[in-house]
Amino acid sequence: MKQEGLKYFTHPELMAIAFTLFMVTFVGIIFWTFRKSAKKEYEQVAQAPLQEETLHGQN
């Protein structure tokens, strides 16, 4: 029964790799995103859609 269950579970190592990769990426992103020095920059970028100083004109 146990053998039967594991027969198709052929790649536990891939699963380990997958989760390691995920954790490393995720933690990396969190650190990178929340680094202090970036705060000002983010505030600036967040305004990007709002500060379109477009001029309107008629043809």
């Binding site: 269950g5 198709y8 579970f9 052929t10 790649h11 536990p12 891939l14 699963m15 790799i17 997958a18 990769l21 995920f22 990426t25 995720f26 992103i29 969190i30 995103t33 929340f34 920059e41 983010y42 505030e43 600036q44 970028v45 967040a46 305004q47 990007a48 859609p49 709002l50 500060q51 379109e52 100083e53 477009t54 001029l55 309107h56 004109g57 008629q58 043809n59």
Partner: protein, 703 residues
């Protein structure tokens, strides 16, 4: 005004994409309503082969995804990218090629799908010449888009642009790898993948088409248009970054949740489940970020139809991304898979999330592009309420239908017998809910038509052309050092593209590559026989008619499936199947082991008019199969292509394929005659189809 084109935005292209969205949206919704009526009233195809359900459904899904949603995202991307980069699109010519090329592809799809040219892989049905055209046009779009980023006059790349980049990259990868096929003739091909490989690649594609065609670009639109509509920045920019990376990294792994409890190796199923469940977190983070952007201005929700559409859309995004992971849990999938619950799920996403984002965006853009006011806010409100009511009718009826049928399929009594052994009984039970769905779909369509009227009126009343001038930002000016500054900008856009590509490649490689070495899973002592020539001809008819939209060929490893349809399907059963036919919906019973269940005569009657042998069936009549001749001529070519792909046909079998098929057909015709058929059926397609159906589950291998 000076005609310095380079300093103005190209809004003509945005308008074109919006018009195309409205045109194809109407078509997609109309096809949907017709398909819904056919499910309740089988007569509604008027016995026309071009619009039978098996051909109409792919037309509907392709129109909804690639024509309606596709044109929506292009309109939004062209508008917002120019504003966020403060520069006109890199090349007007490429923009035009992209627009007209895409519309041409849609027209080609609208012609070939009703004619039955189909690869039968969901949302990838289009045949190889169209696949090639899609790849070319997609690259045209990509070059134009990436070059605009490289040349931008704004230092930062706002998060919406990241979502667009990941869309471009991933859709290219998905489309190319899922479409590797060998042509047999101008409009027929066989995929290089067979059986389980084909299933895995297809659902890696299918799931990520939802992720990277219907989710990431729309999230980009959300991050751009909601701040615009309420005039405040996104709630948390940091959250949007985490949302982005977590989403694209995790999404790519989730494909196997479409194949739970099937013959797919367990480690892949488990991986698919876990990553799907993890998707909850970034999806909800994104939803909350979108909604909280309205902090302090919630009153707009009462007065502004645009805000109503956007907020409801994001709410549906949240509900669908809650339901998706739920359905990915193995035991929930056991209940929901193959039922209308899945249909409910996709429509909450498509009508609620994609549709309402598109409508909000159109109501936002048209008055701005024409420097005027919306013709009628009242009508926009009416559209909103009709649409919402439509979705509620649609979703609740199909959820009820799915749960009802799922429960009936799995009901087993004390003595271990099925409580509802008669499949049609479980279909009859939910037909009243199909009536309710028709109402829902119609309401949504009517709301949409009101929008079209409103927009036409708005455009007609406008004074004419408006030209918007692009102004570089101060941040850019501050970096006025064109030499190094620009190098850095280019670098950023490219670095991003590379990183996003890496994030999606990792998951793809780890999931797909091991399965490519088939010998690991296929036990040659259990190998099945390859299809005979006539069976192959019948199989290609099965594919042409789209039987897979109503019939699965995958008996899952569950007691209720095994009791109803026979022993679970194995990997070997479909080892020569190009394309695989596991299916995703059971409107009719599973056919994996239907061979020899009935005599030939039963199928002969059933395919002509199912109600002659099964009272209350809602399967269409396939009368034209009794008039059309079998295409023997192409069989040698087909056999030789399959031989190249590794099917163990001998040279002689290839050379004699057509003659062999003819004698097989003769034998079946003879048998039918003895059973009392008086019509002349010699060489008719029905013989090939019967031959295929009778072979299902009868080709040897592990029983």
């Amino acid at each position: 005004m000076s005609k310095n084109l380079k300093n103005t935005y190209d809004d003509d292209i945005v308008k074109l994409f919006i018009y195309a969205t409205m045109l194809w949206g109407g078509a997609a919704f109309l096809f949907g309503v017709i398909a819904a009526i056919q499910m309740a009233f089988w007569q509604f195809n008027f016995n026309l082969e071009w619009i039978t359900f098996g051909r109409l459904r792919p037309l509907h899904t392709n129109a909804a995804i690639f024509a309606f949603a596709g044109n929506t995202i292009f309109a939004g991307i062209y508008y917002s990218t120019q504003r966020l980069t403060r520069i006109r699109m890199w090349s007007d010519t490429l923009s035009k090629i992209h627009f007209w090329g895409w519309q041409l592809i849609i027209v080609a799809a609208a012609i070939t799908l009703p004619l039955g040219f189909s690869q039968s892989k969901e949302y990838a049905e289009l045949e190889w010449p169209i696949d090639l055209a899609i790849a070319v046009i997609w690259v045209v779009f990509g070059i134009n888009f990436i070059m605009t980023l490289v040349k931008r006059r704004e230092r930062h790349m706002y998060v919406a642009l990241w979502f667009y980049i990941s869309t471009f990259v991933t859709v290219a990868v998905l489309h190319i790898f899922n479409s590797i096929e060998i042509p047999v003739s101008f409009l027929k091909s066989y995929p290089v993948y067979a059986g389980i490989q084909d299933a895995l690649v297809q659902w890696w594609y299918g799931h990520n088409a939802v992720a990277f065609f219907l989710t990431t670009p729309f999230l980009g639109l959300m991050y751009y248009f909601i701040p615009k509509a309420v005039n405040r920045p996104v709630y948390s920019y940091r959250l949007s970054i985490v949302h982005f990376w977590a989403l694209i990294f995790i999404y790519i792994w989730a494909g196997p949740h479409h194949l739970l409890n099937t013959a797919l190796p367990d480690w892949l199923q488990t991986m698919g489940v876990i990553f799907s469940v993890m998707l909850w977190a970034p999806s909800w983070g994104g939803m909350i970020n979108g909604l909280l952007t309205l902090r302090g201005v919630w009153h707009l929700l009462r007065t502004e139809p645009i805000v109503k559409f956007f907020v409801t859309a994001v709410t549906f995004y949240g509900m669908s991304t809650f339901e998706g992971p739920l359905l990915s849990i193995k035991s929930v999938s056991a209940l929901g898979h193959y039922t209308d619950w899945i249909i409910a799920h996709v429509h909450a996403g498509a009508l609620g999330w994609n549709g309402f984002m598109a409508f909000g965006m159109i109501y936002y853009l048209i008055p701005r592009l024409f420097d005027t006011q919306l013709f009628s806010k009242k009508l926009a409100n009416a559209h909103f309420w009709l649409g919402l009511l439509g979705i509620v009718f649609y979703y609740s009826s199909m959820l009820a239908a799915g749960l009802t049928q799922g429960m009936m399929w799995r009901a087993i009594d004390g003595s271990g017998q099925l409580v509802y052994p008669d499949f049609v009984e479980t279909v009859m039970k939910i037909v009243p809910l199909y009536y309710v769905r028709i109402i829902g779909g119609t309401l949504y369509l009517v709301g949409f038509l009101i929008m079209v009227y409103n927009i036409v009126k708005t455009v007609k009343a406008s004074k004419g052309e408006v030209v918007q001038v692009a102004v570089p930002t101060q941040a850019y000016d501050a970096h006025g050092d064109v030499g190094t500054g620009h190098r850095k900008l280019e670098g950023l856009a490219l670095t991003f593209t590379v990183l996003a590509t890496l994030a999606i490649i990792v998951g793809s490689v780890i999931e797909l590559v091991p399965t490519m070495s088939m010998h690991k899973y296929v036990k040659m002592e259990n190998a099945v026989e390859p299809w005979s020539p006539l069976q192959l001809a019948g199989r290609d008819i099965y594919i042409r008619e789209g039987c897979y939209v109503c019939h699965s060929q995958m008996i899952r490893k569950m007691p209720s499936d095994v009791l109803r349809f026979g022993n679970a399907s194995t990997i070997e059963h479909s080892m020569y199947d190009r394309p695989f036919q596991w299916g995703s919906k059971r409107t009719g019973p599973d056919l994996a082991r239907v061979g020899k269940k009935y005599p030939d005569m039963w199928h002969y009657k059933h395919m002509k008019n199912p109600r002659e042998v099964v009272q209350n069936s809602l399967m269409p009549n396939y009368t034209w199969l009794y008039n059309k001749d079998i295409d023997y001529y192409s069989l040698r070519k087909k056999f030789s292509v399959l031989k190249i792909l590794g099917v163990p046909y001998s040279d002689q079998q290839v050379a004699n394929a057509d003659a062999h098929a003819e004698s097989e057909a003769e034998a079946i015709a003879e048998g039918l005659k003895e059973a009392g058929v008086t019509a002349n059926v010699a060489n008719k397609e029905i013989l090939a189809l019967i031959s295929y159906l009778q072979a299902l589950g009868q080709k040897g291998g592990e029983k």
